[in-house]
């Protein structure tokens, strides 16, 4: 295959340039599709980024894009760009499994709004990516269909829950991907796979057609190799949707432009409480990124926000509580699996025991317990007050700063199986990402360095609600100062060396 039509930055061109060439008629979307499918066919058997590859639909979409171009019609800002879609976003007629036996054979009767927006922008959906079942997990090992492997080192996890999407971008299968982030499920795998991941402001992107996990926290967002490409995808998917009454009615132009604005005058706070809890490599990357920002004209200071560390405990009460309610709908009646029983209750209980994996069952149990009579005030209501505490700590910080800088994760990608025996140990992987979900704020992970073993280290940029412009300004300056080779796609030859 010729280099210029490669589907990813591996061939030297990213989504922005690729779309420009397809729109100009210099590259055929059909060739882009074939190149992407060839890559996936050759290498996804080992990595398992995808639950379903939609090759036929991708070829049809590519043909339609090429016909538009040849008849002089602009197919849109993502013309001919392959995009991988997390398998908890509804795709009409295409299985949407949430990596659960419960929905293994279920195909939705409609498309998620973000999926419709991809098609309208000329994007080519490659397939549906693997995740921790119902987005509950931090390693993609909770998938009922087997784990995804990290393209940087296939003995390690890609992070989760959107591990398939992060790994697909890191492997060069697609320059762009969609994920969802409830407590870090975009940013944490982005960090572990050396790609960019953005959790937008709560409400910036429609969730119509996102299978619900914890509704006061869930948000859809982009993955890409670079900040600019992620901003482009965010521009395409953002905006009000009458089908999601929590979606905001705000203009979202200028996100891509913000990536070129620099950080002159931007006030940056480095969250010291998070540095203390991170590994040496992860903390050093943040300090180094802070120097990069200061060197580019930002005013950088340290800030202590100890309340943010309570976020984890609050999250592991609030998210399971909301999940126990949202997942009540899987009752063996309306979707997917049914296991027969003597009466309705026995059918419900058998279906749910059989259809849900161990982590999902555990969280449903935890959520049901903390909402049950006698415990509601002690656990759930208290967690909601902690949520206020976290929001107030952020508000205090954003009186002095435009953005905050922190590690994305406490450590780099860990070996498969390292944390599966202890749920609490796995939950700690989200310590630094959870506060932004509790507050509804945007945050992104930017690949910045490689550790001594050559594994990627991410740096997190946090901003107040609707602070995406400032976040992207800082993110692209951090990216420009990153260690060479710190971001995906994984360089050719590296895998062969392992």
């Amino acid at each position: 295959m010729s280099a210029p039509v490669g589907p990813s930055g591996a061939s030297g061109i990213g989504a922005v340039e690729l779309a420009a060439r397809v729109r100009a008629g210099e590259v055929l979307a059909a060739d882009v599709a074939e190149a992407a499918l060839e890559q996936v066919g050759r290498r996804d058997g080992e990595l398992h980024c995808f639950n379903t590859v939609t090759g036929d639909a991708m070829r049809l979409a590519a043909g339609a894009v090429d016909r538009l171009v040849s008849s002089g019609v602009d197919p849109g800002p993502l013309a001919g760009v392959p995009v991988a879609v997390k398998d908890n976003l509804c795709t009409r007629g295409v299985p949407t499994t949430c990596s659960s036996k419960m929905l293994e054979h279920w195909a939705p009767p409609y498309d998620a709004t973000v999926v419709r927006k991809l098609a309208a922008a000329g994007a080519l959906v490659v397939g549906k990516t693997n995740l921790d079942e119902f987005a509950m997990g931090s390693s993609t090992e909770n998938s009922a269909f087997g784990p995804t492997r990290n393209p940087w080192d296939t003995s390690r996890v890609p992070g989760g829950s959107s591990g398939g999407s992060a790994a697909a971008v890191a492997a060069g299968f697609a320059p762009l991907a969609l994920g969802s982030d409830t407590g870090g499920s975009i940013r944490q795998p982005a960090a572990l796979c050396g790609v960019v991941g953005i959790k937008p402001t709560y409400g910036l992107v429609s969730r119509y057609g996102l299978v619900a996990f914890a509704s006061s926290l869930d948000q859809v967002g982009p993955f890409a190799a670079t900040v600019g490409e992620a901003a482009l995808l965010l521009e395409v998917i953002a905006g009000h949707d009458e089908m999601d009454s929590t979606s905001l009615d705000r203009p979202v132009d200028g996100l891509l432009a913000a990536t070129g604005m620099g950080v002159g005058g931007l006030r940056v706070g480095v969250v010291t409480d998070f540095l203390a809890g991170a590994s040496g490599d992860c903390a050093a990357a943040v300090r180094s990124a802070a120097e990069v920002l200061a060197g580019a004209g930002a005013a950088v200071e340290e800030v202590a926000l100890p309340e943010l560390l309570h976020g984890l405990s609050a999250y592991y009460l609030i998210a399971p509580a909301e999940a126990s309610s949202n997942l009540a709908r899987y009752d063996g009646v309306r979707y997917g699996l049914r296991v027969d029983g003597d009466d309705v209750e026995q059918m419900n209980a058998r279906t749910r025991a059989e259809g849900f994996g161990p982590e999902v069952r555990r969280r449903i149990m935890l959520g049901t317990y903390v909402l049950s009579a006698g415990y509601y005030d002690a656990y759930y209501a208290q967690a909601q007050r902690v949520r206020t505490l976290v929001a107030r700590a952020f508000a205090r910080a954003y009186e002095r700063f435009d953005v905050l800088l922190a590690p994305t994760t406490p450590s780099v990608a860990f070996p498969l199986g390292a944390k599966t025996a202890d749920p609490l140990e796995m939950y700690l992987a989200d310590l630094f990402t959870i506060p932004s979900n509790l507050a509804g704020h945007p945050a992104m992970s930017v690949p910045f360095a490689l550790d001594a073993q050559g594994l990627p280290v991410g740096v997190q940029v946090l901003a107040p609600a609707l602070g995406e412009m400032a976040m992207l300004r800082a993110g692209s300056v951090v990216e420009a100062g990153a260690m060479p080779g710190a971001r995906g796609p994984v360089p050719a030859g590296r895998e062969a060396a392992r």
Partner: protein, 100 residues
């Protein structure tokens, strides 16, 4: 203060959650939930008297739309995802007793 869930409590919660847990899994879950609840004891101990609860990150009021007719999902499409269907409806095990 350590939290200890008894197997009976776990069975009660499993019933509320409509999950048919085996005895072994009930015991395992009792231990795991106890460990998680132990971990969150620190936030239970915080003095948050007077701090209001946040249930949602947005200051939203009820969102209403005009009551106008519009197309909805196709019945056959929706029922196509169900495990059992009869006469254009979701089918479930009998919920009322046999007629005498």
């Amino acid at each position: 203060m350590a939290v200890e869930l008894s197997p009976a409590e776990v069975q009660h919660v499993a019933r509320l959650a409509r999950l048919a847990l085996s005895v072994e899994e009930s015991e395992a879950v009792a231990g795991q939930l106890s460990a998680i609840l132990d971990h969150v004891e620190a936030v239970r101990a915080l003095d948050l008297e007077g701090v209001p609860a946040t249930s949602h990150p947005l200051e939203l009021v009820n969102v209403l739309r005009d009551d106008v007719e519009r197309p909805c999902l196709d019945r056959a499409d929706v029922l196509g995802g169900a495990p059992a269907v009869e006469d254009g409806r979701f089918a479930v095990p009998r919920i009322l007793g046999e007629a005498p």
